[in-house]
Amino acid sequence: MMAKLNDKPLLSARNLGKHYGQRLGCRDVNFDLYEGEVLAVVGESGSGKSTLLSLLATELRPTAGAVNYRMRDGQTRNLFDLTEAERRFLLRTDWGFVRQDARDGLRMGVSAGGNVGERLMAVGGRHYGRIRDTASDWLNRVEIEPERIDDLPKSFSGGMRQRLQIARNLVTHPRLVFMDEPTSSLDVSVQARLLDLIRGLVSELGLAVIIVTHDLAVARLLSHRIMVMRQGRVIETGLTDQVLDDPREAYTQLLVSSVLAA
């Protein structure tokens, strides 16, 4: 079902930490992520999950530790030693970032086709017809009618915007996608369809995903492994089913029991 996978980690965090002055963002985060693996980071608001995601996506600089990433050429590099040009290239080719609010992840004044085509043009695509064909193919894959290729995202529903964001990110065939609460602004039925779509694409493309969510159902549905965060630290980590069915930490137990049975 998946592409052939490498046995070395794609990304590994070592003693990663971030202080905002005196205030703690997160600390002592260690994990390895392999190709094709989906890791969910769960925890309540303020637990440091978003800080962690920003660190991993190099949007913030850490105050401690390192994030090592295996580049497409097989070299493993510390992300914070990359030059700005290398970092940006990585961001628009090998990575994707699906935001909670589609308005942060899309260009709202640019048509759906332009949104999907942007990355192609950023890596040197200069053939209008081919860019458009690829864009329309991707719209189709995320279940947006290709006739809407010239419509602005403003005219799209919330669920469509999220799907457009996913198409825009996946068009360059990234190996790693960060997702920050991708479903939390959607109503339940739309959420279910989106999760189904993400799950399909992830297994089809062999994507590695780090997904931040406060919704344990999302974690259970999508992720292989889970990391529970509280007050800036990782307090429990393991296989998703194992952690959710048999939580070890008191806090995780509380978190799991606070979810309405679905």
Binding site: E84, V110, S111, G114, M121, R126, H127, R132, D150
Partner: protein
């Protein structure tokens, strides 16, 4: 008033600006020439005219003009529109230099909207008045970010704009201020000249200087520099075409202005470059409407 009669304020000797300011502007110009297409920040001065009337161009001209220069100023291709007349008078008064309306006689040409039809020479410098120097401005509002994009030559966004044009209009509908890539490196706004004039910038023998007063930027294209208009492989760059020749001088392959003649749909198309049109008519070229309407020759630019 001649240059000699101008009041001798401290640190001033010629052409409106004080020597320190001219020195600062010249340094910016030199840097701009050294890095073709790169926008050099400079501390733009208040000028005795409003922003949008060519304060950037005027400062560049004031910094490079000398007593032996001959200045031509054009606005929309014409030498006798308000902006052109007032800037020409400004330099006649503050620098006492000779002015002309003839492209071939000018050593410095300050322009808004057009590059003359007559091929410029190595002895000439053309100064553009630029309202918005940043080609990425309407795609990326953050100045910190646009600077980074330029530094990294990260110009994918520019093509997003062209993509949007094609998807909306079926062709690249940007007709003026059409982005160009200079010397295989920087993407630059050519100021609001029609894209018709873009090919004239490529390998031009004349030095091209750009001044944006409000935005405080100077940039330059040195003589004989590659200037390529951005496009797609399957939607190549094209200039505007006109069905008819100029109604006054019968010139083809020039940029034409539409002139409305009456309230019954009557119109004519005439050269936007008034000097070029006049010169052709002096050489005996006649368009279909020349001679018929004696009052009209003024529209073509005969002042």
């Amino acid at each position: 008033m001649s240059a000699v009669a101008a009041p001798q304020a401290n640190g001033y000797n010629f052409a409106y600006l004080d020597e320190q300011t001219k020195r600062m502007i010249r340094r910016a110009i030199l840097k701009g020439i050294a890095i073709p297409g790169y926008q050099v920040p400079f501390s733009s001065r208040e000028m005795p005219m409003p922003y949008g009337w060519g304060t950037g161009g005027v400062q560049v001209t004031a910094a490079i003009i000398g007593p032996d220069d001959v200045l031509k100023v054009i606005d929309q291709g014409s030498d006798d529109t308000t902006n052109a007349v007032s800037i020409r008078k400004f330099f006649a008064k503050t620098a006492g230099v000779a002015t002309t309306t003839e492209t071939r006689d000018a050593t410095i040409i300050q322009t808004r909207h057009r590059i003359p039809e007559r091929q410029l020479t190595e002895k000439q410098t053309i100064v553009f008045q630029v309202p918005i120097p940043e080609p990425l401005r309407f795609l990326e509002p953050r100045e910190t970010e646009t600077r980074k994009l330029h530094a990294l030559a990260d110009y994918g966004l520019m093509h997003v704009k062209l993509y949007e044009d094609i998807s909306r209009h079926g062709h690249i509908a940007t007709t003026y201020d059409y982005p160009v890539e200079v010397a295989d490196r920087y993407v630059m706004n050519p100021s609001p000249t029609p894209k018709f004039d873009n090919p004239k910038m490529h390998m031009s023998p004349a030095l091209q200087l750009f001044g944006a007063g409000r935005e405080k930027r100077i940039y330059a294209v040195p003589p004989f520099t590659k200037v390529r208009s951005l496009d797609f492989e399957d939607h190549p760059f094209e200039v505007q075409r006109f069905d008819k020749p100029c109604a006054l001088c019968a010139a083809t392959n020039v940029y034409l202005d539409e002139v409305v003649l009456d309230d019954r749909g009557g119109r004519m198309f005439v050269c936007s470059d008034s000097d070029y049109c006049e010169e052709r008519r002096a050489d005996g070229h006649r368009g279909e409407l020349s001679g018929e309407a004696p009052g009209l020759h003024a529209i073509g630019g005969a002042s």
